[in-house]
């Protein structure tokens, strides 16, 4: 963002620079791994077992995310605080989910019932049975 900053940033990089060239895993290799993972995540559902699908879909998404964050965004050689910062942001989302899902994800609870949502589920599922998938 700045001329001075420029020079400085380069010093900043210098320190990492070594890391990058000496022992930083090669970008092409990381890329290869990512593509393999992508193929697995597509193949997963073909097996047709639900939990396998979940693992191949979301487990692998997390692995991919980790690879990109650590090796492409260089969090592996960045100051620790940044990783904590980003993880904290993610943590807040789990908090949000934990606080909200009892009301939004569930359709009935302690002395309340979400009729509209249940009707929607029934309507759509019956529809699905009556008219089987005929798209693309």
């Amino acid at each position: 963002m700045s001329d001075h900053g420029h020079a400085h940033d380069h010093k900043g990089h210098g320190d990492h620079g070594h890391g990058d060239h000496a022992d930083h895993p090669s970008y092409e290799k990381t890329y290869g791994i990512l593509l393999v993972l992508l193929l697995v995540s597509i193949a997963g559902p073909e097996i047709g077992i639900k939990w396998v699908t979940l693992v191949t879909a979301f487990g692998i998404a997390i692995v991919k995310a980790y690879l990109v964050a650590s090796r492409f965004m260089h969090l592996n050689i960045e100051k620790r605080i940044v990783s904590y910062l980003l993880l904290a942001a993610v943590a807040f989302l789990f908090l949000f989910f934990a606080g909200v899902s009892p009301d939004v994800m569930k359709h009935r609870g302690n002395n309340w019932e979400n009729m509209a949502a249940q009707d929607e589920v029934d309507r759509a599922t019956t529809e699905a049975h009556n008219a089987p998938a005929a798209h693309h």
Binding site: F92, P102, A117
Partner: protein, 574 residues
């Protein structure tokens, strides 16, 4: 990039005109809208905020008079019909929180103080800073535009709960509702940019020798507040986009008939809405910390205690949001969890209050105007704080929810934050901002004519709340329990107090502009304070210092034993 304007003398003039920023004479724009100087941008925020405060105050005047004297022709407005009434209360709330408290406490103070107090020449991203103000100004214009469109301004309360806010057939403001939403979203973007700038500046650009724990409390508070804002506003921003699609293209994110859920918005809103309270509270507390230490010539009682309690408050504030929804249809079991967290947040806040009070012990207290504002903040905020316990306790909230007790409670927190603390800050840093002292006598008159009527407004409203008077009601005529004569006398008292409070602001405005010209010249450090901004010229030139200061000690070294002078500036070698 546009070269920042170099202005030695004219800060005052910026001030004087900056509040009608929407002129279109290019020279004027170059000078007042296109500057990248953090002090100039702070002034822009300050005066835009004050301008919006006048609008918000006017709205309060209109609906208070209407409530006290139903059906009366309100001078300067006319008869208030239900739709207008809803728009007024909705936008009063929105403006006072998003267009007054936020820009003045975070943006204006943050922009002005962060570089000066940590001893650098500007924000790290001056152009980003300028952009953030321009987006903010745009958002303000968009919001006000909402009043002049077909159907009038949005009137679905500042919480904007769908389905009411989502469907024109329900809220009868087909254009007002989306415009309101767009304005708020723009405002969020402006403060995200600003916040990133603040946090990065404070993290990276401190003066040589200034360790993290040498930063003045107010800077810490503004940084923590910015981080709270960044971490909490995201879901609501996403929610705003979803609601906007509900309003404009008819999606059903919050529409139960289309598989959506109105409760989701409430959660998205309050997950932001509650931390937001602390986003504005913390900077106010920071200002008060600076002022009471300076005018009691005391070291802050436990600098680290204050920091850790504010960290704790900030973190806890993410775990309490649903106490706004106890009876709003969430699962009753969740209410118990949120009661615990909510009541527990009183611990760090109470602790912070104790620290501030303890700081006064053994001091040598000078009751200058800023000090009066600071003390009044503590007095009023204590009341606002303790009355919050009634509402955090789920059992009691069943009765109090959405009554005037709630309203009086949060005005006893927000008025100290957005009015008392802001006057405290302005009167305290005025000499630095404009190089001249404000008139003390006028200042004290203004103080008493603001603080006393403020209590006169909201103590009666507390009582009405105990009587079960609920909020956002156009007329009490239809509710026998609420239209008793003794209740009306309370409403009269509140409304008249409000008018007194509003009128007495003229004293401040006069004092402000009169002192620009006639106030006695302040010099660098009129209050004999320690923090770095007082070592720069008043007003500081562009770039703030000839050569940037170095920091040798913490900000609160007052009355150190063995020194004949009772203060010890941070940049003084020994």
């Amino acid at each position: 990039m546009a070269t920042p304007i170099h202005e030695h003398h004219g800060e005052g003039d910026h001030g004087a005109h900056a509040h009608d920023d929407h002129h279109h004479d290019p020279g004027f724009v170059q000078k007042y809208l296109w500057s990248t100087d953090h002090k100039m941008i702070a002034m822009q925020y300050l005066f835009t905020g004050m301008f919006m405060a006048i609008i918000g105050g006017y709205m309060a005047y209109v609906f208070r008079v209407h409530l006290a004297y139903p059906g009366v022709h309100v001078p300067g407005f006319g008869q208030v019909n239900p739709a207008e009434y809803n728009s007024l209360v909705t936008n009063h709330g929105t403006i006072m929180i998003f267009w007054v408290a936020m820009p003045v406490l975070i943006a204006a103070l943050g922009n002005y103080l962060i570089p000066l107090m940590i001893g650098c020449d500007d924000m790290v991203f001056p152009r980003l800073n300028r952009l953030s103000y321009q987006i903010f100004l745009l958002s303000a214009i968009v919001l006000i535009a909402g009043f002049f469109v077909e159907g009038g301004a949005f009137g679905g309360a500042w919480t904007s709960y769908p389905p009411l806010s989502a469907k024109a057939q329900y809220n009868n403001t087909p254009l007002g509702a989306p415009i309101w939403l767009v304005a708020v979203a723009l405002e969020f973007i402006a403060f995200l940019l600003g916040g990133i700038n603040f946090v990065t500046t404070a993290m990276n650009s401190r003066a040589p020798g200034m360790k993290m724990f040498d930063m003045p409390i107010v800077i810490w508070m503004i940084v923590i507040a910015s981080i709270l804002f960044m971490a909490s506003v995201g879901p609501l921003f996403a929610g705003a986009i979803m609601l906007f699609f509900d309003q404009t293209v008819g999606t059903g994110f919050f529409d139960p008939n289309k598989g959506g859920d109105p409760i989701l918005w409430q959660h998205l809103f309050w997950f932001f809405g509650h931390p937001e309270v602390y986003v504005v509270l913390l900077p106010a507390l920071g200002v008060v910390a600076e002022v009471i230490t300076t005018f009691s010539r005391k070291k802050l009682f436990g600098y680290r205690t204050v920091l850790f309690t504010s960290f704790a408050t900030g973190l806890l504030s993410f775990f309490v949001w649903a106490h706004h929804q106890f009876i709003a249809g969430i699962d009753p079991r969740m209410a118990n969890v949120f009661t615990v967290t909510t009541v527990l947040i009183s611990v760090p806040i109470a602790e912070m209050m104790f620290v501030y009070i303890a700081t006064l012990y053994g001091g040598s207290i000078r009751l200058t105007t800023p000090m009066l504002w600071a003390l009044s903040f503590l007095v009023a905020f204590l009341i606002g704080g303790v009355t919050g316990i009634f509402l955090g306790a789920s059992g009691a909230d069943i009765y109090f929810h959405d009554t005037y007790f709630v309203l009086a409670h949060f005005h006893y927190t927000f008025v100290p934050i957005a009015i008392l603390a802001v006057f405290c800050a302005v009167t305290y840093w005025y000499p630095k901002m404009f190089g001249r002292m404000m008139n003390e006598t006028l200042g004290k008159i203004h103080f008493w004519l603001t603080f006393v009527p403020f209590n006169g407004i909201f103590i009666p409203l507390f009582i009405l709340g105990l009587g079960g008077q609920h909020r956002r009601i156009w007329s009490y005529e239809n509710f026998p329990e609420l239209s008793r004569p003794e209740y009306y006398s309370l409403r009269h008292f509140a409304s008249i107090s409000l008018i007194i409070m509003l009128v007495s602001q003229l004293i401040f405005i006069f004092n402000f502009f009169w002192s620009l010209k006639a106030g006695k010249v302040a010099g660098k450090n009129p209050w004999r304070a320690n923090t770095l901004e007082w070592t720069a010229d008043s007003p500081p030139p562009h770039g703030n210092w000839k050569e940037l200061p170095t920091c040798y000690r913490g900000p609160y070294e007052y009355s150190v034993p063995g020194r004949e002078s009772d203060y010890w500036p941070q940049d003084e070698k020994s």
